[in-house]
Amino acid sequence: MNSVSRRWFLTATAATTLSVTVAGCGSSGSSTSSPTGNVDFWTLQDPTNSVQKAAVDTFNSAGKGKVSMTVIATDGYKDKLRTAMGSAKMPGVFFSWGGGSLNDYVTAGKLVTLDTALESHFLPSALAAGKVGGKLVGIPCRGTQPVFLFYNKKLFADAGVQPPTTYAELQNLVKVFKGKGITPFALAGNASSSWTELMWVEYLVDRLAGPKLFDKIQGGDWSQWKDPAILKTAQMIKELVDGGAFGKKFGSVNYGAGGTSTLLNKGKAAMVLMGSWEYATQLAEAPDFAKNGLGYVAFPSVEGGKGDAGNVVGNPTNYLSVTTSAAKQTATEFLKTTYSDSYVQGLVEKGEVPVTSNAAQYLTKAADPAYAKFQYDLVQKAPSFTQSWDQALGLTLGTPLLTEIQKLFNGQSSPEQFVSAVLAIKK
């Protein structure tokens, strides 16, 4: 009796497992719908939702098909999207950061190649991360987010110094502010904010070697990490850390309000290297400081480096992509709303700097036209706009890379160990 029930038990287990596995695998069928059918549109919960909602409403009332918008919180957006993309519940149009994550979806045959005629409506530097293997699979849907240096004007006036234009000046400023007991650069080094440390690596590598080096890495040549510019960058970071450029506590500092942004507006730190969204964070946390005390300049040049000092890193923008399960005509028509006058103007009013070719004329309507113009010019004049490496590489390679960068900043690995550890990520 006992042995029989045990055998029955094992058989039942195997049968259940099999059915679960089969159900999990066989669910990639796409729903075939009429060309002007419904399209599920997944987007991120952020301040531009009202602009997107208005675009959806206008589109739906025009009668060229129906788009239903689903808003998903930032935390876990990528996980949810990834899970949905592996199942039958795949959205028709979705928001993403472009780069490596789209690469995975293209390889898996989930995305539709978009009409190249769309390209003429956007700034070329912002389109690169929406392409995979030269094919357009994502078009810009938000403002541009370059990374540059923000500084506290009052601290600079008190010290009688100017923001840095060269790396030597930057090193000098570290000494000046350290001598005054002020942290030169606020840096969020806690384990979930190591992407702020990545920004330093990205800019130093770009200034030393130019954008081609990372292009090759992103293109699949992982051995390019052996380039001397990478080791040099790691050594420069070690020098900065050891020289007190980031203070002693950055290892558990958070990004944003209550962390780096507060350090800057309270005068505890003189500068911060951050994406353009820092302005909005300061505006929410310390409006007076944002209007009167917040200065901004491009990342300085590095003496002897091959990279153009005009190059920019950051998020060129965010992207909308169309999947194979979408009603194609509806989706294609809907994409055109992202460069419509009302959409672009809506983004500008939200403090964004759109990457559409018709954006310049609207910038005077921005909350802070000078800041909007600074960003637009920075991006438009940039010889290259390198996408944040973690986004460009996709999470499979980006996540372990962030961990290694954090170890370098924490002094847990030497510059040489950093290089060999990063090389070991992709075998």
């Binding site: 290892g251 558990s252 209550g258 350090l263 170890k407």
Partner: protein
């Protein structure tokens, strides 16, 4: 059965009958079917599924590809896994060593009849009512090196408590203790209340002071509760994940990336479900082994009574 008990003294026999009336018929197997099915579908099947996935490469988008023992040979050569196992062990030991004495003292105290005891007990109980997420976020603010307690009390916390591995582990132990001591002291409170007063009366007649009474009566009588509480700590400690995710996020670097955290990171941050399944299987074996060893070593499975001799 009957012949075995007839030779025993009458008093014992009566106690025994009252405690466990002999059941003549065992319930039919059919009664177990719903529970068994539930167990099969929701516990056994996923476990077997995970074991199968640990032999595949699966990115979540394309069908899993069978790769044989590739994940496992990587697993046994992965220094991160052994670091994670060590940190998991350290956290476990730290939690038991700190939590057990505090819970015992607090539980025994709460079992007494002091003035204001009920009110203070209610206050001590509060942390258990908060979710781990709320607890972790609150403590992260409190431990912030620039704006939290360490900025004010540097002599106590050092300049950056969560900036080193030892510091981060200590912080995790501190917060876990703060959160779960109320639960364990509740167990001890119940157990301490059920210790017969006659023991203490006899001891005080013999001239034993409060400390001797605690060491020689209370502690031995709490033995079973200690084992129960420790098993909770071990199993809970092996699978603790939320507190690490929210308080340190595995940092600094990977210094507090315990096994469940590594598994999450591998599965949902780098989309390597196959390798994550290998970590999960290992964790399953570890937790089962820890639980079995603890039960065997402590003699808990024999269910011996601490009331013997009364």
């Amino acid at each position: 059965m009957v012949s075995a008990t007839t030779s025993r003294p009458l008093r014992k026999q009566r106690v025994r009958d009252r405690a466990a009336p002999p059941t003549l018929e065992r319930p039919g197997v059919a009664w177990a079917v719903p529970g068994l099915l539930f167990f099969l579908v929701f516990a056994v099947a996923p476990m077997v599924g995970v074991l199968y996935l640990s032999f595949t490469h699966w990115d979540g988008l394309n069908p899993p590809q069978f790769t044989g023992t590739a994940n496992w040979s990587r697993f046994f050569g992965d220094s991160q896994v052994w670091q994670s196992t060590t940190v998991t062990g350290l956290l476990l030991i730290g939690n038991i060593v700190v939590q057990a004495p505090v819970s015992i003292l607090l539980g025994v105290w709460a079992a007494g009849h002091q003035r204001n005891r009920a009110i203070l007990s209610a206050v001590f109980f509060l942390p258990l009512l908060l979710s781990t997420a709320a607890t972790a976020i609150m403590w992260r603010q409190l431990l912030d090196p620039n704006f939290g307690l360490p900025a004010k009390f540097e002599w106590l916390f050092g300049s950056n408590p969560m900036g080193t591995q030892q510091g981060a582990i200590a912080c995790l132990v501190l917060v876990t203790t703060w959160q779960f001591v109320p639960f364990h002291s509740l167990l001890y409170q119940g157990a301490a209340r059920s210790i017969p007063h006659t023991l203490y009366q006899a001891a005080s007649i013999d001239g034993a002071g409060r400390v001797r009474q605690f060491v020689h009566i209370t502690l031995p009588q709490l033995r079973n509760t200690m084992i129960t509480s420790t098993i909770f700590m071990v199993v809970g400690g092996l699978t603790a994940f939320d507190i690490v995710l929210l308080l340190t996020n595995g940092g600094p670097g990977t210094d507090t990336a315990i096994l469940p955290f590594s598994m999450y990171q591998t599965a949902f941050r780098t989309y390597d479900y196959g390798y994550a399944s290998a970590i999960a299987s290992f964790l399953l074996v570890l937790a089962t082994a820890a639980s079995v060893i603890l039960t065997k070593l402590s003699g808990y499975d024999k269910m011996t009574s601490t009331m013997e001799g009364l």
